[in-house]
């Protein structure tokens, strides 16, 4: 074994509407190396890997393999060139058995030789210590096992480069160890190239020989490992913008609008213990952390969408533990989900219908006044759209404006998931002006964001989530982006 395979990506561009997901990407991957592709959510790393593996077409650019330019349409053709990708949710067929999945996609005669295929499957599984029962339906496998199946399948197809997209999400520690051992062996013994897409720094540090970092669609740096978390975080988030002076806290009373007492939150993947927090009227609390570290869970717990397994939640002095979302809403909280069209708005309904949904409480809607009200709101919130436009035809920024218009005027507490997700700088600034207006009226705001700059600029206090722990930033006055990045990466956590 040991075919050499060098991959060169030259001037790759890919746009999705207004978003420049890949902006002039130039990268070289040498054979036998494990390379981490790092970047925050939306940085463009998955798009780039999908282009390389044929799942996505590029707008312009070239892929060179071993010194020759290649072009392929579709993942099957990429595999024929030796490049295979393991998707985050493995692309298999749940109704098939393990063996059928292994066979499906292999070239050959009309009727596949099941015995031969089974031997090949067993041999490959044994090599890496994977336990795959050929007769088991795939729907009964864990995600880790489905990944193992997909890896041996791609290897059997003669893949020389293996791309893995967030492979450690949703798998057990033992499966992770098994996976990493297999990847190391493939790189060392078979001189395969392994590309690991991840935003988990500990995985990258544990496994990779080198990293390439993307931010906002561009390559912002690459380095050989070992590197420290700090160096990686600096590359990932950058630090070109200095922290701006924050507005003074405008709390007019000492009473807590929101109080968490030793709250415990848990889901299938993690558990966070002992969260205690007091939020006063007019305070803005930022929740920081790598994606999926528990910020969203806490936000949802504050509005009753997530149940706490232990502890107590008070809103405006009332014990709300275990109450429903509806009851939370009645106490005057408002919630804005990150998935605007999925959770916040109803695709297919017009602006007027949205306004009527929240303002009209009779069975019959007075459409004339609803329309009038909608026009007022459109003017007030500067929405680019008409009362009869359907919501999904609006841009992200305008959708977010509508979402603001739909929220109660003076809520006690607003819980916002990534309030400026996907918005351009202008729209984001406008959203924050609106939020600060409401804060002056005494509304407390608790929000999550992947944007450190946004967190540092607007928060009165910041809570950092990392590996199942929460920690409040002690010295807000002298907090730099760099320090915050380090805390997110897990340095200086008091356990």
């Amino acid at each position: 074994m040991g075919l050499v395979m060098n991959i060169e990506l030259k001037h790759i561009h890919k746009r999705f509407g207004a978003v420049h997901a890949n902006n002039d990407i130039n990268l070289t991957f040498a054979t036998g190396r494990i390379v981490g592709i790092l970047g925050e959510n939306g940085a463009g790393k998955s798009t780039l890997m999908k282009i390389l593996s044929g799942f996505q077409s590029m707008d312009s650019g070239e892929i060179w393999l071993d010194g020759k330019p290649v072009s392929y349409n579709g993942p099957q053709a990429a595999i024929a060139h030796g490049i295979g990708m393991l998707q985050q949710d493995p692309l298999d067929v749940g109704a098939f058995t393990v063996l059928e999945n292994f066979i499906y996609g292999q070239p050959g005669n009309l009727s596949p030789k099941r015995k031969v295929a089974q031997q090949q499957l067993e041999k490959l599984s044994q090599r890496f210590g994977f336990e795959l029962d050929p007769d088991m339906p795939v729907s009964q496998l864990s995600i880790g096992q489905r990944q193992q199946l997909e890896i041996v399948r791609l290897l059997a197809l003669g893949v020389r480069t293996l791309i893995l997209d967030e492979p450690t999400t949703g798998i057990s520690t033992e499966q992770k160890t098994l996976l990493f051992d297999a990847l190391r062996e493939l790189a060392a013994k078979d001189s395969m190239t392994v590309l690991l897409v991840s935003h988990k720094l500990e995985d990258v540090i544990a496994l990779c020989h080198e990293v390439a970092v993307l931010r906002a669609g561009r390559i912002v740096g690459s380095m050989d490992m070992p590197a420290t978390t700090t160096e990686l975080v600096t590359l990932m988030f950058g630090q070109e913008l200095a922290a701006q002076p924050r507005q003074p806290i405008n709390a007019n009373s000492d009473d807590a609008v929101l109080a968490l007492h030793k709250v415990q939150l848990r889901n299938k993947r993690m558990k966070i213990d002992n969260i205690s927090l007091r939020v006063r009227a007019g305070e803005i609390i930022g929740l920081a952390g790598l994606d999926g570290s528990g910020q969203e869970m806490l936000l949802r717990a504050c509005v009753g969408l997530e149940k706490c397994s232990r502890g107590q939640i008070d809103i405006a002095g009332r014990d709300m533990t275990g109450k429903s979302y509806r009851e939370f809403l009645q106490t005057g909280v408002a919630f804005g989900a990150a998935g605007r069209l999925e959770e916040g708005l109803v695709a297919g309904l017009t602006l007027t219908e949205h306004i009527a949904l929240v303002t009209s409480h009779q069975s019959f809607i007075d459409w004339n006044s609803a329309r009038q009200h909608t026009e007022d709101q459109i003017k007030h919130y500067n929405v680019r759209g008409r009362p009869e436009s359907r919501i999904e035809t609006l841009s992200g920024g305008n959708q977010q404006r509508v979402l603001m218009a739909l929220m109660p005027q003076e809520p006690v507490l607003m819980a916002l998931e990534q309030p400026t997700r996907g918005l351009d700088v202008d729209s984001a600034r406008w959203i924050w002006q609106q939020l600060i207006e409401r804060r002056k009226g005494g509304t407390a705001i608790i929000f999550s964001s992947p944007d450190l700059d946004e967190l540092v600029t607007y928060s009165d206090r910041i809570i950092v989530f990392c590996g199942g722990w929460v920690q409040e930033v002690a010295d807000m006055e002298n907090l730099t982006l760099d320090e915050l990045g380090r805390m997110i990466g897990g340095e200086g956590v008091i356990q």
Partner: protein, 325 residues
């Protein structure tokens, strides 16, 4: 065995054949992820066209071919509407059911109640002499033998060949099929048309063999819905689908026999309801946990086979649209 009993079983197999062919056709279509809901109307229109074509040309073969073309064309409309125009397959199929049934009545009005060509029995030498099974299964028309071939052929295709894996994959998870090199929508077209042509063949099996001739109201009205139900009952597995078709035809024969026996007084309506009740009970059994519990007591090699046989989940992508990148 009692020769009269053998006769009864022989006619059950014969009468079940159009249902077998139609539900095998629908099984193929639905395995590919497309619902052809027009079965009832398709059967009626293709039965009419099959009879008229055979009558005019004097050849049953030409009748069969004409009927298959009609079934295939109706399926093509569903494929174009559902795949190309991205409309709701259930809605298109339902409208087509009503339209084609009326069209058959209208176009066939000059051909009612006249004798025409028929497909006759052709016993298979040697095989027909096997005791009991011989006269039941091998003293039949060529269409019946074709239905046997379809049953085993589809089973082999689905579970033992590479294109069969692709067929199942496009109905289960088209994204995966696409990633492994399948042209999902082209395959869906192909299998929808093949399935539709088989439904047309089933229509011809009525008008040229089982219930020869053409009449209004059509004698096979309602059987299309039954075939659709049999596909669900059969869990999209050819063997179980066939079992369902035979079971249904058997229950029908039983109810006819009971009606002819004056000593037994049971309402006809009640008798006709039995197959449906039986189907609901079976579906409940299969979808409850009872089967899984039963499986655990079986020896391991048998478990796998039984689970596969009893599986009753519809193809996961049934009735959905797939957009190729």
């Amino acid at each position: 065995m009692n020769p009269e009993l053998i006769n009864i079983f022989n006619s059950i197999v014969a009468n079940a054949t159009p249902l077998v062919i139609a539900s095998i056709g629908e099984t193929i279509t639905e395995r590919a992820g497309v619902v052809n809901l027009s079965l009832d109307g398709s059967l009626i229109l293709s039965a009419m066209v099959g009879f008229v074509a055979a009558f005019v040309s004097g050849s049953a073969i030409i009748g069969i071919i004409a009927a298959m073309i009609v079934g295939g064309l109706i399926a093509l409309i569903i494929a174009i509407g559902g795949i190309e125009l991205r409309q709701d397959q259930v809605a298109i199929g339902f409208v087509l059911t009503l339209l084609t049934a009326d069209l058959a009545t209208f176009l066939g009005q000059n051909y009612t109640r006249i004798p025409g060509p028929q497909i006759l029995r052709s016993p298979i030498p040697i095989l027909a002499d096997i005791p009991v099974a011989g006269p039941i299964f091998f003293n039949q028309t060529a269409l019946v033998y074709l239905s046997y071939a379809l049953i085993f052929g589809l089973w082999y295709w689905l579970f033992r060949t590479r294109p069969g894996l692709a067929l199942r994959a496009i109905g289960e998870r088209p994204e995966t099929a696409f990633a492994r090199g399948a042209n999902v929508n082209r395959l869906r077209y192909l299998y929808t048309i093949i399935g539709g042509a088989l439904v047309g063949l089933a229509g011809a099996a009525y008008s040229l063999s089982v219930k020869p001739g053409w009449a209004t109201p059509p004698s096979m009205a309602g059987d299309g819905w039954i075939a659709l139900a049999i596909v669900i009952f059969g869990g999209w597995h050819p063997f179980r689908v066939v079992l369902g078709a035979y079971l249904f035809a058997g229950l029908r024969a039983l109810s006819t026999a009971i009606q002819r026996t004056p000593e037994i007084e049971i309402s006809v309506v009640l008798l006709n309801g039995i197959p449906w009740v039986l189907m609901i009970i079976t579906l409940l059994l299969v979808s409850s946990g009872a089967i899984e519990r039963l499986l655990t007591v079986l020896p391991r090699p048998l478990q796998k086979w039984t689970r596969n046989f009893l599986r009753s989940d519809p193809p996961a992508a049934l009735g959905t649209r797939f957009k190729q990148k």
